[in-house]
């Protein structure tokens, strides 16, 4: 691939999704975009890039951006964040929000839905506490393709075996031939919506908990800082933020700080979250 073409396409991806593509990832462009080019009757990646250069084709650009995202996800991924959510964050919310009984949770890169649905399952497992609360779980992603799957709530045998305890499968899924459909009582707890993390967060409202896992790793430093700083504004002062196992706030923003000894959990700097969670000192 010509380096001028690489620059063009990586710039486009960066502008549209934040994705940072280094030259050693050229093979990713080839493997993910060649099928897309063929589908459009073009003979390969090079023609695809020429076409983009000649005309601004929004639909094509979207398809390219979506094709370049990594959408892997699984239920209760890494376990720990979900344990921390259950053990510290929810009790803190019960204490802190007891009068209003309102809880808003945002999964900011929800992909095919396993992450928000895992949170819904955790809440459902303690439903006696939460049934009279007004709970919103909002899953967003820039890719409509993954969101369609998320909304449907249908998973393959392979997907339901990665991270989902068998008891949860029995309790919350129906088998339909080769696939497993999530029950409506869980599905209806999560709302999905298309949203780009590079866009303005103002329309989303305030959240108590944000899961933003395994998406910042694809961004460059300024984009990471930008997203986290804006997230701080949408998160309540005593809220909680979860990042992926390979992600951190250190050296990226001073708006959040890691909670000592609790991997993946971050809280607003200077806020009262840790106190509410009973985690200070």
């Amino acid at each position: 691939m010509r380096s001028e073409d690489f620059k063009f396409i990586s710039q486009l991806l960066h502008d549209r999704s934040g994705l940072m593509l280094t030259e050693d990832k050229v093979y990713l462009l080839e493997s993910r975009l060649t099928p897309l080019a063929r589908k459009r009757g073009l003979d390969g990646l090079e023609s695809l890039i020429q076409k983009l250069k000649l005309s601004r084709d929004t639909a094509l650009t979207n398809d390219i951006v979506e094709a370049m995202t990594t959408n892997e996800s699984f239920f209760f991924r890494d376990n720990t964040p979900f344990d921390l959510f259950k053990q510290y964050v929810l009790p803190a919310m019960e204490k802190g929000r007891g009068s209003g009984k309102r809880l808003r949770i945002w999964c900011a890169a929800a992909s095919t839905g396993q992450e928000p649905y895992s949170l819904a399952i955790i809440l459902r497992e303690a439903w006696h506490k939460w049934r009279d609360w007004n709970i919103e779980i909002i899953g967003t992603d820039l890719s409509s393709q993954v969101l369609d799957k998320a909304v449907e709530g249908v998973y393959s045998q392979f997907e339901v075996q990665r991270g989902l305890p068998i008891q949860m499968l029995i309790k919350y899924f129906q088998q339909e031939g080769d696939v497993w459909r999530l029950n409506n009582d869980i599905r209806s707890m999560v709302k999905f919506r298309k949203f780009n993390l590079l866009d303005n967060f103002a329309g989303l409202g305030k959240f108590d908990v944000i899961f933003c896992r395994n998406v910042l790793i694809y961004f460059d430093q300024p984009t990471k800082s930008g997203v986290l700083n804006r997230m701080r504004k949408t998160l309540s002062d005593d809220g909680a933020l979860f990042l992926g196992a390979a992600e951190t706030v250190l050296g990226i923003t001073d708006q959040f700080k890691p909670v000592t000894g609790q991997r993946g959990l971050y809280v607003p700097t200077g806020g009262k979250s840790e106190e509410l969670m009973g985690l200070n000192g």
Binding site: F74, N79, Q157, F158, Q161, R162, G163, P165, I166, Q167, L169, I170, Q174, Q175
Partner: protein
Amino acid sequence: MKTCLVVDDSRVIRKVARRILEELDFEVVEAVDGQDALDACDRDMPDAVLLDWNMPVMDGLEFMKRLRAQEGVEQPIVVFCTTENDMAHIRTAIEAGANEYIMKPFDREIIEAKFVQVGLI
């Protein structure tokens, strides 16, 4: 090092499972059917059992029922690993005392995820 008894009548499956489990730091013992597995447990109770369902001589469910009926022994964690992949079989196994359930085909990732869930890893 934890021990895992792999019970399957297919030599190929036992071999694949052994390789995965050894990579996960388990000491592996093999049995070819339920009766063979009971004998193995009598000799030396493992920490975990990876258990096929359909086998000659004695099937996996029967083995587990007899195992669970034994009193005064340290009970191992039992993870079914079978092509019986419908809800009815899953329920039956869990109600009879299985800790987890893997639907074949399996790979390293699935075994690891399930073993983490039941606290073996």
